[in-house]
């Protein structure tokens, strides 16, 4: 038979798979597997986050439906929504995406570029409101 015929198993094909080195970082091999207290604790935490996300969303929807009519100032309502949104995002990234379980250096590497959003949001929204101001006071649309 031809010498170039290989009979690798899947495992051999992945021999160079570097993920093997690190697959044990978040994996667990406790006694009892999924039934171990460690595992049960983690599942409990997942469901806890689920309830937090659900309750926060219900609160948001109720405020979205009745907040304007109840006479809450627009800026207060918006701030409230934004704070709750960021809170939900933190829970998702930290627990569901397991970023909280990673090495500290890695967490920082992921989070630092996101601070650009602070400038990004301020600059663009300020620009938008400046244009509205110009349109209302000096633009062609002025009645």
């Amino acid at each position: 038979m031809a010498s170039n015929q290989h009979n690798h198993s899947i495992q051999d094909l992945y021999e160079g798979d570097q993920s093997k080195l690190y697959s044990g970082v978040l994996a667990h091999h406790d006694e009892g597997g999924l039934e171990s207290p460690q595992s049960k604790k983690q599942v409990k935490r997942i469901w806890k986050v689920f309830w937090v996300l659900l309750i926060v969303t219900v609160v948001e929807v109720v405020c979205g439906m009745y907040g304007h009519n109840a006479g809450m100032p627009k800026w207060l309502l918006s701030t409230f929504f934004l704070v709750l949104t960021v809170l939900k995002a933190i829970y998702i990234v930290r627990v569901f995406m397991h970023l909280g379980d990673e090495v500290r250096n890695f967490i920082v590497t992921i989070l630092i570029p996101l601070t650009l959003f602070i400038w990004f949001i301020i600059a663009f929204l300020a620009d938008g409101s400046f244009w509205l101001h110009m349109n209302n006071n000096v633009g062609f649309h002025k009645p």
Partner: protein, 252 residues
């Protein structure tokens, strides 16, 4: 630089260099780190979309009211503000939970658990997409689409129902301004929810591929279920984006 430690005249031991190569300083595999970096770039894409939406909104004298635009429910008609999107949000949160449970089962090499939770996640993803299909169809019937509302001479009745007409900003706005804001609103709505829906669609496809690999025993033979974790990261990111889309379009 590694510092050679002199133990005695003849033996020197070298402490491993953290950044010297050969191992990950972050203690993560290449694939997982690249998934994170991809998601980081994707966050900026979505961020740019949403900030552009915000800029246009700040630029506009008047803006459609979410409680009026999104007030319909299948088979029930209108008058149910935010109810349908709440159900969509619930479906997506739920699918995120089943996804993280699949990842958890993978950490314990529990093949049956991974299959079960992946299946639920796929069902959740398809349910979300079906809801979105209904909402798009409904919006289209209401007159909203890419490039709609460009004719300033159309009668008020064609766009009035998207706005809270009791607001002073609505009363003070010229018809051209009102129409332009409806035009912008729907352009952004379909672009951003469409881009998100595209992510959900690809996510479902990835999940199906991973499910097939799991059933075939590929990961079992490989000895770990990291692929479930990587696709899980993508899936949670899609949920994360929806949290922001939900706030920007439906709440603010």
């Amino acid at each position: 630089m590694a510092q050679p430690v002199v133990l005695n005249e003849n033996i020197t031991a070298t402490q491993p260099k953290i950044w010297g190569g050969g191992r990950s300083p972050f203690n993560v595999s290449y694939g997982k780190m690249m998934m994170w970096f991809f998601l980081l770039t994707d966050a900026f894409t979505f961020g740019a979309f949403l900030i552009s939406y915000g800029t246009t909104r700040f630029f506009s004298a008047v803006w459609p009211d979410p409680n009026h635009v999104f007030g319909s429910f299948p088979f029930l008609g209108s008058g149910y503000p935010l109810l349908f999107v709440s159900i969509m949000t619930f479906i997506l949160i739920m699918s995120s939970v089943t996804m993280v449970l699949a990842v958890h089962a993978g950490h314990y090499n529990d093949k049956k658990g991974v299959i079960k939770w992946l299946l639920w996640t796929i069902i959740g993803g398809i349910a979300f997409l079906s809801c979105q299909a209904w909402e798009w169809t409904h919006m289209h019937h209401e007159g909203g689409w890419w490039g709609s509302f460009t004719d300033p001479s159309v009668p008020k009745e064609t766009y009035e129902h998207f706005f809270k007409t009791t607001l002073p900003s609505y009363a003070n706005a010229a018809p051209a301004q009102v129409i332009q804001s409806a035009h912008s609103f729907f352009n952004y709505f379909f672009t951003i929810t469409g881009f998100h829906g595209f992510h959900v669609t690809t996510g479902v496809i990835f999940l199906i591929l991973v499910l097939i690999n799991t059933i075939n025993g590929t990961y079992e033979r490989r000895g770990h279920y990291e692929m479930v974790e990587k696709v899980g990261l993508y899936w949670h990111f899609v949920d994360l984006v929806w949290v922001f889309v939900f706030t920007c379009f439906y709440l603010l």
